[in-house]
């Protein structure tokens, strides 16, 4: 039994539990707006994080709970954000779609599809110019591969040989529409990599070790001056696109097949030691329980916060 794998399992379980809690809190009317659960995608976030340095930059999407937590945002501050608490990781100003933990180099969750890929290229450019050896990673969906920013970012990163890693979480669907119906190639990210002279891998995104290893290879290449890599991690979301979506458009057989390949099950099997995994599950549950309690007990977001933080001086004044 590998201690590292068990640890990765527990991290995934914490994410799973946190999102389950978010879902329940939504149903209880304590979370407003919308959420895009990443349940099923945990291995991508946890595997990648295991391969990265703490100061490597991460950019994620509106479906970003797993990345925020994998990079070091606490379940409590994430749930508090969703529940509009003053202790939320963005003080209630971001919400589910914008979880950000800058102190852990998790530089944001962005809700305009594809927009963060150029930002990641820019962070990689900055790392290169400053000579820090940092890598910048962008996580994005299959649907994001058809938007212009994807193209521009990959070309720029390739030409400037930037230390960037582009990780597509291909979960087969955009919101409700299968990616295959609107994309001209079978692997929406990997099949585009040659257009930028970039290496690509299609990997099993539900196996945390496979993800870890692929990201490690890409990060090493990036740090060594070898430029960007495209990784297409095949995975699946357990819930619908967002809280309003029952996801009926997905064939039953497909859902069952992927649930059987749940990243937690895959990791559980790989650990081999059922008792150890059960113990990890219990620890994860306790972590989540404490987080829920703390978030519930936290003070509500402060309306005065609405008029701060537009400018670097902390304020929002636009006129004299």
């Amino acid at each position: 039994m590998s201690a590292e794998l068990l640890d990765l399992y527990e991290r995934m379980a914490v994410i799973r539990g946190t999102e389950k809690a978010a879902h329940d809190l939504f149903m209880a009317g304590l979370v407003k707006g919308t959420t895009h659960l990443a349940a099923g995608h945990e291995a991508v976030a946890v595997g990648a994080s295991a391969a990265l340095r703490p100061d490597d930059y991460v950019f994620a999407t509106y479906r970003g709970h797993h990345h925020a937590i994998a990079r070091g945002a606490t379940p409590e501050e994430c749930l508090a954000e969703l529940m509009s608490r003053d202790t939320g990781v963005c003080r209630g100003k971001g919400g589910s779609m914008h979880l950000t933990k800058a102190s852990a180099s998790m530089l944001g969750s962005y809700a305009i599809v594809g927009a963060h890929l150029p930002m990641a290229a820019g962070a990689a450019w900055s790392a290169k110019l400053r000579g820090t050896g940092q890598v910048a990673v962008a996580f994005f969906g299959d649907g994001a591969t058809n938007i212009g920013a994807f193209h521009e970012a990959l070309n720029l990163a390739a030409v400037w040989r930037l230390p960037a890693v582009f990780v597509c979480e291909n979960n087969l669907y955009m919101e409700y529409t299968p990616i295959g119906t609107v994309t001209a190639v079978p692997n929406p990210a990997a099949d585009r990599a040659p257009a930028y002279g970039l290496p690509a891998e299609v990997i099993d995104g539900n196996d945390v070790l496979v993800v870890r290893d692929a990201v490690a290879r890409a990060a090493q290449r990036a740090r060594g001056g070898g430029g960007p890599t495209v990784i297409e991690a095949r995975t699946y979301r357990h819930y619908g696109h967002s809280r309003t979506d029952p996801a009926r458009y997905r064939p039953e057989g497909e859902v069952a097949e992927w649930l059987a390949r749940d990243p937690l099950l895959v990791a559980r099997k790989a650990v081999g030691d059922g008792a150890a995994v059960d113990a990890a599950d219990r620890r994860a549950q306790a972590t989540v329980r404490r987080a829920v309690e703390a978030a519930r007990a936290a003070p509500p977001a402060d309306p005065a916060q609405a008029l701060t933080d537009v400018w670097a001086d902390g304020g929002a004044a636009w006129r004299t």
């Binding site: 407003k32 707006g33 919308t34 954000e81 509009s84 939320g88 963005c90 209630g92 100003k93 971001g94 919400g95 589910s96 779609m97 914008h98 962005y110 809700a111 305009i112 599809v113 594809g114 649907g143 994001a144 058809n146 938007i147 212009g148 920013a149 955009m174 919101e175 409700y176 529409t177 119906t181 609107v182 994309t183 458009y249 509500p300 977001a301 402060d302 309306p303 005065a304 916060q305 609405a306 008029l307 537009v310 929002a316 636009w318 006129r319």
Partner: protein, 326 residues
């Protein structure tokens, strides 16, 4: 059809009416076909008109609107959906530089009869990138017509006018109004572009509103009437063409003007209305022109913060009282 329908249903109804009437009307957008739209505003269309008239697209806002433009120049009347109006930024070149200019810069050689529909506005806790009222971006662009209905019947009537217009129309559906109800539109209902309406007559002051701020203004007027303050509420319905005549006539009766906008003050359409009145209606005014607009911040996620930022009935009521007492 039911006597009362939702704003959301009115969108689908308005589209269906036009698609039945004119076979050159085609729809395209993300998840609008088989899935019937993320906001359920295209329910029934795919079933009735099939995949040759209702097209699911990739997440490619530039291709959606750019293709709509090419199709409009060559014999179709496309209705493109941009899911959230914030995403207009992803295809802004088409709305700002291409679609509205090509007729003019070709000396009238081509015409672009298209509609871009989009879900606009905040109040639902969708955060900074899914909540903006962006009609002001479009207002600054010559060559776009801009409609923003506040009632289900106006949705149907303005959509009919928009689809039939030989000019490009940006059609703002307000997310916060989708669930609201109102009388269904009569058959063949058509509301010409550029005609404001007096949503509630009054004598003491004019409140000019648009889309989501119309019900806010009406609620404030209702509350104030109990205190003997009678506000006239003008629903602009369109920003371009702008029916400033109706506004000036109302101010001629009331001598006071309050403008209620969902967007921030700076750069907002209220500035255009205010400056027209401050020029052409200067002598009519007995008081300063006031505007209730959003704070100049991105829209925050949390409810109490969002309420602090956006125009509310309380803010409008307070502003009306202040102005009436001036």
């Amino acid at each position: 059809m039911a006597d009362v329908i939702t704003y959301r249903e009115a969108v689908a109804e308005g589209l269906a009416r036009e698609m039945r009437r004119d076979p050159s009307v085609v729809c395209l957008g993300e998840d609008i076909g088989a899935a019937e739209g993320v906001f359920k505003t295209t329910v029934g269309l795919f079933k009735e008109f099939g995949p040759e008239r209702v097209w699911d697209t990739p997440i490619s806002e530039q291709a959606i609107v750019g293709a709509a433009m090419g199709a409009a120049m060559t014999g179709l009347r496309p209705v493109a959906e941009i899911m959230f109006s914030d995403f207009l930024a992803c295809c802004w070149d088409y709305l700002a530089n291409e679609i509205p200019k090509v007729r003019y810069m070709t000396g009238g050689q081509v015409t672009v009869p298209l509609v871009v529909r989009t879900a606009n506005g905040g109040g639902l806790g969708f955060g900074a990138q899914h909540s903006q009222a962006v009609e002001n971006w479009a207002l600054a662009v010559p060559g776009l017509k801009i409609a923003a209905p506040s009632t289900p019947a106006d949705v149907v009537g303005l959509l009919a006018a928009a689809v039939r217009s030989d000019d490009p129309v940006l059609f703002f559906e307000h997310k916060g109004l989708f669930a609201s109800r109102g009388p269904a539109a009569p058959p063949d209902h058509l509301v010409p572009l550029g005609e404001a309406t007096v949503a509630r007559p009054g004598t003491d002051l004019t409140v000019v509103a648009l889309a989501s701020t119309v019900p806010v203004a009406l609620a404030a007027a209702e509350a104030l009437a109990r205190d003997g303050i009678f506000a006239e509420v003008v629903d602009l319905r369109c920003l371009i063409p702008l029916d400033i005549r109706t506004v000036l006539e109302s101010v001629g009766r009331t001598s006071r003007l309050l403008i209620v906008e969902e967007n921030p003050y700076q750069g907002g359409w209220g500035g255009t209305v205010a400056s027209l009145v401050a020029d052409e209606g200067f002598e009519l005014l007995d008081a300063p022109i006031r505007r209730v607009a959003a704070a100049c911040v991105p829209l925050p996620f949390a409810d109490p913060l969002e309420q602090r930022v956006m125009p509310t009935v309380d803010k409008v009521t307070a502003a009306v009282r202040g102005l009436a007492a001036y």
